[in-house]
């Protein structure tokens, strides 16, 4: 279907696809098998301007928006979700600075992020704070001109590899969620180290690691926004990034669909290619319908965000939930269509199925997304009364 993309959007799509096919596809199985961080691919993406797509031109980026970023994420996800997670998490970590950072912080950090010289990670989750972000136990205590951080962050994408970390920590525990603040912590700061590296079901090329803060002192100026804004910064960041997870869903579903359809044409049973059987055709038709619907929703929400809409929580949650549920279903069906071959590591769909599962979990589980949508519905219906 034609989504009437601009010339720039088409260039981003075509180039992202070329990089995915020429540079990612030949190594994706190996990266998955060895759990190897895709530095080489990140460097290629950086040199080709992909790290700065959504960063304003004044800070060295290309000055495009959510849709352009989603298109790049979708194309990378079509080939490897591990690589696209690494790429998308970089944007996730950057949004707090981009949306709420001071002019000095933007000038200091964004140009290096846009050029790909520095990689970023977003650190919210903790052992006791996942879906319930108000359960954060990491603290930041003001001492003179410094904040002193103590605590442990868990399951941080790009952890250990990134140079810049945007970290949510409590500055006033008595205030609950309103006592959280956001900080910029650079790799190499004394008292900041990395713990356990996770061994995962999927997205194994992406790094998921513990961050440990042990009396880690950072300049007072490294706070993003004002004290107490941490929770709102985290929520607005996730509102902005969530559509990208939807784009990951569209991409991996598209990739799995293409492999399954191609296989169904060449695999013969009962004397005919299996694609000639209605059972297979209907499965492929349902996959195609869902992918197109998911893409339409993700692109529409991305355009809505780029139009400058203020409250995007509900729409971005819808795009994330729908597209990632589609990704799970489509990748499972791709394995089913391919039967035994689909289950084997020689074919890429088993990896796509393993990878897809995380999309329903990270950046807010799809249950939490439905809570967000539900809350918005309550608010809207109350306003109408």
């Amino acid at each position: 279907m034609d989504y009437f993309l601009t010339e720039e959007q088409q260039v981003i799509r075509d180039l992202a696809r070329r990089i995915a096919e020429e540079k990612v596809l030949p190594v994706r199985a190996e990266l998955d098998e060895k759990e190897e961080f895709p530095w080489k691919i990140m460097n290629i993406l950086a040199k080709s301007d992909f790290m700065g797509i959504y960063i304003p031109e004044e800070y060295g980026g290309l000055g495009y928006g959510t849709l352009e970023l989603c298109i790049a994420i979708e194309e990378l996800s079509r080939v490897c979700l591990g690589v696209s997670t690494t790429y998308a998490a970089n944007a996730l970590g950057t949004y707090p600075i981009l949306l709420f950072g001071s002019e000095a912080q933007k000038k200091k950090y964004l140009p290096d992020i846009a050029s790909g010289k520095k990689l970023v990670a977003f650190a919210l989750t903790e052992p006791n704070a996942g879906s319930d972000a108000s359960g954060i136990q990491t603290t930041a205590r003001l001492e003179g001109n410094e904040y002193v951080l103590n605590g442990t962050k868990q399951w941080i994408t790009n952890g250990g590899e990134a140079d810049i970390y945007t970290v949510i920590a409590m500055t006033d525990k008595s205030k609950g969620a309103r006592g959280a603040s956001a900080f910029i912590v650079e790799k190499g700061t004394p008292g900041f180290s990395f713990g356990k590296k996770e061994n995962k079901l999927g997205i194994r090329a992406s790094a998921t690691r513990e961050l440990i803060f042990d009396n880690c002192r950072i300049p007072k100026d490294n706070i993003i926004g004002r004290p107490g804004m941490g929770f709102i910064i985290a929520m607005k960041t996730l509102d902005k990034s969530r559509t990208g997870v939807g784009a990951q869903g569209v991409g991996v579903a598209q990739g799995a669909f293409e492999v399954a359809a191609e296989f169904a044409k060449t695999r013969h049973q009962f004397g005919s290619p299996i694609i000639s059987f209605q059972a297979i055709q209907h499965m492929l038709a349902d996959m195609a319908i869902q992918i197109e619907a998911a893409r339409s929703l993700v692109y529409s929400v991305a355009r809505y965000i780029d139009s400058g809409a203020k409250d995007i929580s509900k729409e971005s949650a819808m795009a994330k939930t729908f597209a990632t549920d589609v990704a799970m279903k489509v990748t499972v069906d791709a394995v089913q269509i391919m039967g035994g071959a689909g289950y084997m590591r020689e074919y890429p769909v088993e990896k796509m199925m393993r990878d897809a599962k995380i999309l329903q979990i990270y950046e807010g589980t799809n249950q939490i997304q439905r809570n967000i949508i539900g809350q918005a519905i309550i608010k809207e219906t109350t306003a109408r009364m």
Binding site: I44, K47, D49, F50, L62
Partner: protein, 260 residues
């Protein structure tokens, strides 16, 4: 640092057809690419620019459709591109091509000139070195590594069959490069967009002040008498095994046909 990179547009296929009447390559209907070795030459130029500053000018001699190769060069980091094109240049052999390129480079000016080691269509590997001769400057061929450039001197490793030579040269210099030198980058988003908008400069006979008797078919001492595909012979045989076994079998076969 003023860097000039010479590129050639070549047919993108092993199925190169030859016009039996003119004995020249049929270029129509065959997709064209930048000669693969020239991509390494361009990458080398762009890397030097990134490290030492300066500009990269990419030139190609060819018909108007060679513009697409120049646009691609912009997407890969070139600052400026020039199409050297004139009806008078048609039919040039390597001598006339080198002469023409040298005239253009003289006008443009250059500290370092990069060429691919050879083109995959003609395979002569002559144009780079000949261009340097016409310019009266040194050349180093088959460069696989650039060690440094400083104080007007370049030091490189030149690939040889049994290792490499370390060669120094004053600038200006012309280098022909092998694919071991680097890994050509992918295009950038900014580069692709710029490549669609850039105005391609053109240079013809008058611009480069070339002598008419030195360009084109007339200026080419090479005369192609016949080009043909060798006939496939069916009486060949492959010998397998360890080298020792192969030698034994080979001797045996040669004895059979009374070669030995």
């Amino acid at each position: 640092m003023k860097i000039v990179v010479c590129i050639k547009q070549v047919p993108d296929t092993a199925e190169i057809k030859i016009n039996p009447e003119t004995n020249t390559l049929v270029r129509e209907g065959v997709p064209s690419i930048i000669n693969p070795y020239d991509l390494h030459a361009l990458e080398a130029g762009v890397q030097i620019k990134e490290e030492l500053g300066g500009t990269v000018t990419v030139i190609t001699m060819g018909p108007p459709q060679a513009e697409s190769a120049l646009r691609e060069a912009i997407s890969l980091g070139a600052d400026e591109v020039i199409l050297i094109s004139d009806r008078a240049f048609a039919g040039s052999d390597t001598w006339a091509t080198s002469y023409t390129l040298s005239r253009a480079i003289k006008k443009i000016g250059a500290d370092i000139i990069f060429c691919g080691k050879q083109a995959i269509d003609g395979d002569t590997a002559q144009v780079g070195p000949e261009t340097a001769e016409f310019l009266g400057i040194p050349h180093i061929s088959y460069v696989k590594k650039i060690e440094y450039i400083r104080d007007g001197v370049i030091r490189v490793q030149r690939m040889m069959e049994d290792g490499y030579d370390v060669v120094e040269s004053p600038l200006p210099v012309l280098l022909t490069v092998v694919k071991e030198l680097n890994e050509p980058r992918m295009p950038s988003i900014r580069g692709v967009l710029a490549s669609r908008r850039i105005e391609i400069k053109k240079m013809g006979m008058a611009d480069i002040e070339a002598r008419e008797d030195c360009v084109g078919l007339k200026g080419s001492p090479t005369k192609v008498k016949n080009i043909f595909a060798p006939e496939r012979r069916k009486d060949s045989m492959m010998i397998d095994g360890t080298p020792e076994e192969q030698v034994e079998k080979l001797i045996e076969e040669m004895r059979k046909i009374k070669c030995l």
